[in-house]
Amino acid sequence: MKVAYNEKELLKGLAQNDKTAIETIYKQNYNMVQALIINNNGLADDAKDIFQEALIVLYEKVTTGNFELNCQIKTYLYSVSRRLWLKRLQQTNRYSSDLVNTDQIVAVEEDMEEHQKKDEEFEVMHQALATLGEPCKSLLEAFYLQKRNMQDIAADFGYTNADNAKTQKYKCLMRLKKTFFAKYHKGDV
């Protein structure tokens, strides 16, 4: 079946961060999710948020090595977006009854739980980095996120040599780990 093959290719592309694959998925599904949100008390900006979060859920799923989706990408994204939007409505007290749209949906509870956990972890790291202050934040981001080498970083941040930068990085890292683990263990994630 050609369709199924294409879908699998797309998911593989997504897992490998292939820009054309992501763009294709985006193109094929955005308007559908936007219609869902707009028809249910949402704004265009909400639609963008929800759709992108749904894509992150799918991305997390396929990057953990599981390309096997037991439904079409479309159905999956729709179901996840729907759940996310219901949750958002509940949080903002805008929830009235069930969503107006009743297209085909699949069960995504497990994936949602997994996503929520990862989302919390992401938030913990984000907060820990944010409270770190400069230059620590930029220094650690340069090393761990942008994966640049120490010589480069030393030159950029105005340290006289890589060893000095390393010492500074170490101090920053210890602070980050402390705040991170304090929240990480407390949140029991």
Partner: protein, 377 residues
């Protein structure tokens, strides 16, 4: 000393986890790990930490990627941002009861008209005091505008004094300078009207020192907004701009930043929105608290999402830190009047910023290529 030892230990742990050790080193470290539980614990903990950092990095990248794609598709018209529709239910109700509502409305209308007719014929006619009040209000406004103009002139004069930089490459002896920023990929730019009003020839210069000829398309001296256009073959159009222009007003205390050319170098300024109105309560502009110098005029004022919320325009003499900016909605008004010209009927300006959530350094890096020095003779 202890610090140094810890540093080396953690460094080794990290290299071990990342697989950067050579086989001998690795063997030695593994033995150490087996015999020393403290080191083993360190490896376990750091592995977990690095995994979290990695996940964080991957997700952040992916989210940024998605934003880029969204912006690109939106610009290409592949996905269309729908107009907001509030509730499906409401629309349904409206359709259902449209006729009833219509009848009710017309009854109400007829009653109202009848009542007011009755009222008018009975009540005495006062001698238009309200009109007079309006006239005096207009006079006050006039005075205010004049005051503002004086301030602007003052900034102008200062700018003239500062602007004696040479204009090699393009044959203009620049006497006025300010800042301007692109609002579309094809070379349309916004600056202050007072920056260009006395000049016959103008050119713009970017951060890299490249100069381009430009012309003034539209000037609105009352609002101090001017639209200029780069008309130079060497200027390469860009597909889309990273920032958008905000149509609605911003709130007090919102953090803002500015990029402008008070000298030959681009200067970054940081502050906050301090009042929703400008000099003497002028409602066209707002007040910000940010360091500004002559030459900053015409520069964009960004909020933290990377949206342009205003155009830096004037500084109050004698009051430190009181700087005024024209509200960005007047950019749209100026554009509306520009669209009356057939050549520019289809000019489009994005309200969407792709810089949301990025670090300030990254935001500035993405923006800086689109901010120009504006010079005129």
């Amino acid at each position: 000393m202890q610090d140094n030892k810890d540093l080396m230990m953690l460094d080794s742990v990290e290299r071990y986890i990342k697989g950067e050790m050579n086989p001998d080193e690795r063997l030695f470290f593994e033995n150490l790990r087996k015999t020393n539980s403290e080191i083993d614990q360190m490896v376990v903990e750091h592995t977990l930490f690095l995994r979290q950092v990695n996940r964080y990095a991957v997700r952040k990248d992916f989210a940024a990627n998605l934003n880029d794609i969204h912006h690109k598709l939106e610009n290409a018209g592949t996905i269309t941002t729908a107009a907001n529709q509030h509730t499906g239910k409401l629309v349904f109700l409206w359709k259902k009861y449209k006729r009833v509502a219509g009848i009710a409305a017309s009854i109400a209308g007829i009653t109202a008209v009848g009542l007011s007719l009755l009222f008018n014929s009975v009540a005495p006619h006062p001698k238009d005091p309200q009109v007079k009040e309006l006239v005096s209000k207009i006079e006050v406004l006039d005075q205010k505008t004049k005051n503002l103009d004086q301030k602007i002139d003052h900034v102008d004069n200062k700018a003239t004094a500062a602007a004696n930089s040479n204009a090699s490459g393009i044959d203009i002896n620049a006497r006025y300078n300010g800042t301007g920023f692109l609002i579309d990929g094809k070379g349309l730019m916004i600056t202050n009207a007072h920056v260009v009003k006395r000049s016959v020839n103008i050119y713009v210069e970017n951060n890299k020192g490249e100069k381009f000829k430009a012309i003034v398309l539209k000037q609105d001296p009352a609002r101090d907004v001017a639209i200029i256009k780069i008309v130079d073959d060497r200027f390469k159009p860009v597909a889309s701009l990273p920032y958008g222009i905000r149509k609605t007003a911003s709130d007090i205390a919102e953090p803002i930043f500015t990029l402008a050319f008070p000298s030959d170098k681009m200067v970054y300024g940081e502050g906050y929105l301090s009042a929703k109105t400008g000099f003497n309560g002028d409602t066209l502009s707002f007040q910000i608290s940010v360091p500004a110098n002559p030459g900053n005029s015409g520069g964009p004022v960004f909020n933290r999402n990377g949206e342009v919320i205003g155009i830096l325009s004037a500084k109050e003499v004698g009051a430190e830190g009181a700087v005024f900016a024209v509200q960005s909605k007047y950019i749209f008004q100026a554009l509306d009047s520009l669209r009356k010209n057939q050549l520019y009927e289809k000019v489009k300006v994005s309200q969407k910023s792709t810089l949301n959530g990025l670090d300030q350094t990254v935001q500035v890096k993405k923006i800086e290529d689109y901010i120009f020095m504006v010079k005129g003779d």
